[in-house]
């Protein structure tokens, strides 16, 4: 990509290959992805008899891409940049400056671990690389370790940044310190997150795929038919009495397994002055190294059930690691579902901020914002009720549906009250704290030096109430952090205080006449 001519001339660095062991790993992982298909082929074989042809084709399909990948992929690390060259027909060279590297994420699935190789993802602050990553799939473990040490050195010599002085100092004092380690008691939070549901979905999808591929109708197999027949002989009370506890127990079990598999041996520890390492995983290991001076903030997220049980999780706000949906699969998790106090402590210690910011009270957005919460929730509820009533009327639905839909109104009131209670912000010591949400409450602590612009949004309704939604844009995390429905004067004061030089030229001076047409 960039720097092709200049960079390739660098002396003192050679093009390196991935480990030859990836020649074994990649076909096997590709095959395991095709497992349902392979199973189908095995079963079909008895019926069609063209097993040999198919298996040869499958083997070729699995082996050839892996070989091509290994042959064509090379990487090189110079003093300034990291290069990655790959591609069969269109050879591409990706390069990234080493001072732009934010994170190094090393993962090893079970198969990878058996063969001692791993997958390295280098997270950058660049938008022009697709997904902002450089992927090195199939390095030996020792190579990966030395690469990580080279790119995010234990001594923060290269990563020094004037703006990060405070954070760097905080990190240095606690070098090598352990911030958090998984405790078995945290397992109680496992059923309260969506992880269990996700695992269930994956299992269900796998079974469905298998039954599709093998052309076996599961509903017609012996055991299932037996179960259905037995179940049908119960009365309705017995059915509920039997199936509900069974479903609950199954769900809890799967959630526990999921939590254990993903977060086993979870550990966040300082590593050198500027790096923090997050280690986790039972079968597939994951080690994420995050540069502390590039850590722009932390999000403390509390889904409703987790919040009710006094739990919370922490997610890193940094460039190069994804947040939001699927954050569990990415390296940005700084703390799995754990007691809220631990989340607060980890957040404040990692950022080097007073604990007040992580757990203390926030500035409320006032009566107008409260009114808006109620109006919005009740409007939505009324629209839903109207839709349900209309549908029930047209379809001659049962009366209890029409009566039951009225329950949406107290639900809306509760949600509105909770949303207002959770709405707030605070600006202190170079950190902007925002909190929003009800079903998932998120408290984000973002460094003001990471803010690279402001957006203000006012709908017609907000203008009438004297409110606005102030959004700080940043390159890290969700890319935007909003103060929703904040009073106009309060919001502007926050923006001006957070980035004084940015807002000040555009503030309305009472005596100065605003410029009109140019």
């Amino acid at each position: 990509m960039t720097g092709l001519a200049a960079g390739l001339g660098d002396a003192g660095a050679e093009w390196l290959r991935l480990s030859p062991r990836s020649l074994i790993v990649r076909p096997l992982t590709d095959l395991s992805r095709l497992l349902p298909l392979v199973a189908a082929l095995l079963i079909l074989h008895s019926r069609i008899g063209s097993y040999v042809t198919w298996s040869v084709l499958a083997a070729v399909a699995a082996v050839v891409p892996g070989m091509l990948h290994w042959i064509t992929t090379r990487y090189k690390i110079t003093d300034e940049r990291v290069y990655l060259r790959h591609g069969v027909f269109n050879q591409k060279v990706l390069s990234v400056a080493r001072d732009r590297i934010r994170t190094v994420d090393v993962t090893a699935h079970l198969l990878y671990r058996l063969l001692g190789v791993c997958h390295v993802t280098i997270g950058t602050g660049r938008n022009d690389l697709r997904s902002g990553h450089l992927d090195l799939d199939g390095m030996t473990r020792t190579d990966a370790e030395s690469l990580r040490l080279m790119l995010l050195p234990a001594t923060a010599g290269t990563a020094a940044r004037p703006a990060a002085g405070g954070q760097g100092a905080a990190a240095a004092s606690s070098a090598g310190a352990e911030y958090a380690r998984l405790r078995l008691s945290w397992l109680r939070f496992a059923p309260l997150t969506m992880t269990g549901l996700v695992v269930l979905g994956v299992l269900f999808g796998f079974v469905l795929q298998l039954s599709n591929a093998t052309d076996i109708n599961l509903a017609k197999t012996g055991p299932v038919r037996y179960l259905v027949r037995e179940f049908a002989s119960f009365s309705i009370v017995e059915r509920v009495g039997v199936s509900a506890p069974l479903a609950m127990a199954g769900y809890v079990l799967i959630a526990l397994i999921g939590y254990t598999a993903v977060y086993w041996n979870f550990r966040v520890a300082g590593y050198g002055a500027d790096t923090v390492r997050v280690t986790r995983g039972l079968l597939s290991l994951r080690v994420t190294a995050i540069s502390l001076s590039r850590l722009r903030g932390i999000e403390i997220s509390e889904p409703l059930l987790l919040r009710a049980a006094g739990g919370a999780k922490c997610i890193a706000i940094t460039t190069g690691l994804r947040v939001g949906k699927g954050a569990e699969h990415e390296g940005s998790v700084l703390l799995p579902p754990a007691p809220r106090q631990v989340a607060h402590r980890v957040a404040s210690e990692l950022l080097g901020v007073p604990g007040e910011l992580a757990r203390g009270p926030l500035r409320r957005h006032g009566q107008a914002a409260l009114r808006r919460r109620y109006i919005r929730a009740l409007t939505a509820a009324c629209l839903l009720i109207a839709a349900i009533e209309a549908a029930a009327w047209i379809r001659h639905g049962p009366a209890w549906v029409r009566a039951g839909s009225l329950l949406l109104i107290p639900a809306a009131v509760l949600i509105a009250a909770d949303r207002y209670r959770n709405l707030g912000h605070r600006l202190a010591g170079g950190w902007l704290v925002t909190m929003t949400g009800s079903f998932t409450r998120r408290r984000s602590i973002v460094g003001t030096d990471a803010i690279i612009g402001w957006r203000i949004r006012q709908t017609w309704f907000q203008r009438r109430l004297g409110l606005m939604t102030l959004t700080a844009t940043t390159a890290a995390g969700h890319q935007r952090y909003s103060l929703r429905d904040v009073p106009v004067d309060v919001g502007l004061a926050v923006a001006a205080a957070a980035t004084s030089d940015l807002i000040k030229p555009f503030e309305l001076q009472p005596d100065a006449k605003p410029a009109t047409k140019a």
């Binding site: 732009r100 934010r102 602050g125 660049r126 938008n127 590039r294 460039t319 030096d449 990471a450 803010i451 690279i452 612009g453 402001w454 957006r455 203000i456 949004r457 006012q458 709908t459 017609w460 907000q462 203008r463 009438r464 004297g466 606005m468 959004t471 844009t473 940043t474 390159a475 890290a476 969700h478 890319q479 935007r480 106009v488 004067d489 919001g491 502007l492 030089d501 940015l502 807002i503 030229p505 555009f506 503030e507 309305l508 001076q509 100065a512 605003p514 410029a515 009109t516 047409k517 140019a518």
Partner: protein, 170 residues
């Protein structure tokens, strides 16, 4: 200033960006809204014809037509009063929208790319828009409905300005 007051009953304490956009944008937006509205009305008419013309359908079409026509007349003029932009040494500053109003401030030093885009419709009306992206995926700043020459000038001016600063706070 009276128009300003009616548009902004409660301005958020920021001064209005200095420059208006091209007046031709009103025609462009009107044409676009009219075309989009005509399409919706035509689809409804086609459904009405295909399913046997009923009185309810007639009402629906009449209401849609009224709404679409009102939108095509009011929106562009309202929008023209709101849309403003300004470039200073430090920042790009815009106001856009109509029913909801958006203000954006992006520091020149954080701008990564600047490009200008002309759709077929904009070319017919001699307009262009300028987009400045920052390192934040949420941060692109768009100035719509600029004169074509002005857009080219702005593009050059911003390209020079952004080349002079380092670091992107990522």
């Amino acid at each position: 200033m009276t128009t300003e007051r009616t548009v902004q009953p409660m301005p958020p304490g920021l001064r209005v960006p200095a420059n208006r956009i091209s007046r031709r944008a009103i025609s462009y937006w009107t044409a676009r809204a009219a075309l989009g509205g005509a399409f919706v009305v035509l689809v409804e008419a086609a459904i009405a014809v295909a399913g046997g013309f009923s009185a309810a359908m007639g009402y629906l079409i009449a209401c849609t037509f009224a709404a679409v026509a009102a939108h095509a007349v009011i929106m562009p003029r309202w929008r023209y009063r709101v849309h403003r932009w300004e470039v200073t040494d430090q920042a790009l500053y815009t106001r856009s929208g109509w029913f909801s109003v958006h203000w954006q401030i992006a520091p020149i030093s954080r701008i990564q790319t600047i490009d200008s885009h002309r759709s077929v419709g904009e070319r017919i009306f001699g307009l262009a828009n300028v987009t400045a992206t920052t390192a934040s995926a949420a941060g692109p700043v768009r100035i719509h409905g600029l004169d074509r020459e002005l857009a080219d000038m702005l593009l050059d001016q911003l390209a020079v300005a952004t080349g002079q600063s380092a670091g992107d706070a990522t």
